[in-house]
Symmetry: C2
Subunit: 406 residues, 2 copies
């Protein structure tokens, strides 16, 4: 790991081995600026670039107020950018020119880091899929017939992907309790979270040309944490036969920092074995998942610690499946893992699972009980990954507070 001249950052969750990318409104500015983070400080890359350090190649990418320009630049530029940022923050020769553009993180208002093109949500945790089966079909639990043959997924609403900190208004909708004769209409009574990991596409692919799982690092720039808010009662009534729609589309929150895949190289871990064997287009000579450790808090109480390393389908396989029919990738595409759930009770990534369908309330540190979310509840999903030399790579967090239905 390269040592930084910014004091106290070398052992931190945001050392030079991380260098997440985001967009922030900083003190004295109206316009959003592209930023990175070092320790507890935000570096205004827009202003650094404008000061002349960015050069003709990087400056245009860092002064657009969105990461889309960086995402579109592609793998060679991502590598160049990372090298440049590391030099700025480690070579003392840059200290004087860079220091004026450092700001305490507490003063940075982080905004939506990129414009989402298409949003796809997968369903790639075997334990999650098994739990959902057992909760809804206790007499015949198990995986759907197709589950081990393909990473099941669906398209969500890109226009309602919001940045961490956005309040979540409890949605209205139709629902029909199991024993009711007719559906009713009103605010969702079973508002839930889904703790997920999202992959942000930079380099597009061509319509009609499937992408191999091994090409993940060519196309994906980095990772965000995702809370795929879900209204279980709305979802249950609407989803046959075309899948989730309004039960999901009111909001999906993402963390403001995009963690470059490059920073997560030390966190690569083997995939669990896949049986039955998968079709050729899903095979990779060197398949890997990521050892990301998530933590979910509700009003400050840690309620779950889902381990991303337990996913059945890898991000490379998700990308390959998404494109096997010729569908193209675009800059800004976001595909998420689906709820991350481990084998243990306190590794479940949704309240649906933690409360076993609402039948087993769980207790918060203040003694209050929950099955689903109440108005005023604040949920935060944070995470970290193993970094180089025993350090950690901070993944930031995605937070949202539930407001009463309007």
């Amino acid at each position: 790991m390269t040592s930084s001249w910014v004091e106290g950052t070398d052992g931190s969750d945001y050392s030079t081995a991380v260098l997440p990318m985001g967009v922030a409104v900083l003190p004295g500015n109206d316009a959003p600026h592209t930023v990175t983070r070092i320790g507890d400080q935000v570096l205004d890359l827009h202003d650094v670039a404008r000061s002349g350090l960015g050069g003709d190649d990087l400056s245009p990418l860092l002064t657009t107020g969105t990461l889309n320009s960086v995402l579109a630049a592609g793998r060679p530029v991502w590598t160049q950018l990372r090298t440049t940022l590391t030099t700025w923050l480690s070579d003392p020769a840059y200290r004087e020119r860079v220091t004026p553009h450092l700001h305490p993180t507490s003063t940075a208002h982080l905004v939506m880091p990129f414009e989402v093109a298409d949003y796809v949500d997968f369903y790639s945790s075997e334990q999650h899929a098994r739990n959902v089966g057992a909760i809804f079909r206790p007499d015949s639990p198990g995986l759907p017939e197709n589950w081990k043959h393909l990473p099941i997924g669906y398209h969500g609403r890109a226009g309602t992907v919001v940045v961490s900190g956005t309040n979540i208004v409890r949605p209205h909708g139709q629902h029909k309790p199991r024993n009711a004769a007719e559906p009713s209409f009103g605010p969702s009574a079973r508002l839930d979270i889904e703790a997920e990991v999202g992959f942000v596409v930079g380099t597009p692919s061509k319509l009609g040309y499937p992408v191999h799982p091994g090409a993940l690092t060519d196309h994906v720039f980095g990772v965000v944490l995702v809370n795929d808010w879900s209204a279980r009662d709305i979802q249950a009534w609407e989803y046959v036969p075309l899948g989730p729609f309004l039960g999901k589309s009111f909001a999906t929150s993402i963390s403001p920092w995009v963690i470059p895949l490059d920073a997560l190289a030390p966190a690569r871990c083997p995939l669990p074995s896949q049986d039955p064997p998968v079709f050729g287009y899903l095979r990779d000579d060197d398949p890997w998942c990521l050892d990301l450790r998530l933590s979910v808090t509700l009003n400050g109480s840690v309620i779950s610690e889902p381990p991303f390393a337990t996913q059945y389908w890898s991000p490379g396989q998700q990308m390959a499946h998404l494109t096997i029919n010729g569908a193209s990738l675009r800059t800004g595409d976001l595909f998420a893992s689906g709820t991350v759930t481990g084998a243990q009770r306190l590794q479940r990534g949704s309240l649906l699972e933690l409360s076993w369908g609402g039948r087993e309330p769980f207790t918060l540190d203040d003694g209050s009980e929950r099955t689903f979310l109440e108005d005023g509840d604040t949920v935060s999903i944070s995470g970290w990954a193993p970094g180089p030399d025993g350090t950690r790579v901070g993944l930031g967090d995605v937070t949202g507070t539930v407001l009463a239905a309007s």
Copy 2:
């Protein structure tokens, strides 16, 4: 109807009562220009605006090479634009200045008219839903339990919405014939069409604020024809439990001309009665559908004439349902009706229905038989609507040719 000085256009399907909006690459240009159509000629609105006729308000909207700028401008500007176009094409005082910018339609290469934000596909034809039920569940046909309570819909892939004329490569994917023990992988053997009508959103709505069905004309600029290509075998294997994904996401074709809702005012027709009564958020004092007459040809043979007027759910209700959970609308959102199917056999909007699940081949004019699409097949969906004074409003067409799997 206002008479035009452009000869032979008054009684045509593209009179001054239509004025569709599109984007075309015209002879001598590399860049796409915003255009409208009058009779068999395309008017280059970019060049007209640049010539000084556009004024400070309309010129910036007409010179961006995409309709998104027009869409975002909102209802009052749409009205102003329509009035201005009518004046240019009807007042002889403009003849000399406008004429140089008219081009034969045959010389215009029409391109994607707008960038799609989110794409939603509904399932709003009762006859279509009943047919699908009868084909797949002959022992217990009928509608899903929720069908008459809400307009069922799902999100499709915005990034693979393509303009008419784009070739459609037969997609690869997993499928599992009903009696097979294991899934197989290969080109889809059940490639199908869906004849639909799409609504193009101009004015956005605010996150958290549902939109009333009566506000359709405030938000929707116009209408396109849609062919929602579908690989039935891929879809059948993947869609439980999260809905259609790769069976649809390889391509959705739209017609290049966006027909303003204003042009379709004479085509408004009452909705069929809805029983059971719908929830309040789906109620409109003056509900209406549109009397759009579609025609589907396969290699030149007319195989179906689906009547849009038979839809159960109105476009206003679709928009209201889409937003009742607080989901916002964005400029460029496209929501489509789902397959349009009437009561008669030759009014079915998909080959799945025309061949009754592949069990009843139908015959083309050249004597050849079809169940699903063969490589080289060309499908065209065209349409018209009643206009003022006994004229017709042309809806253009959406065409695509199937290429062999690559």
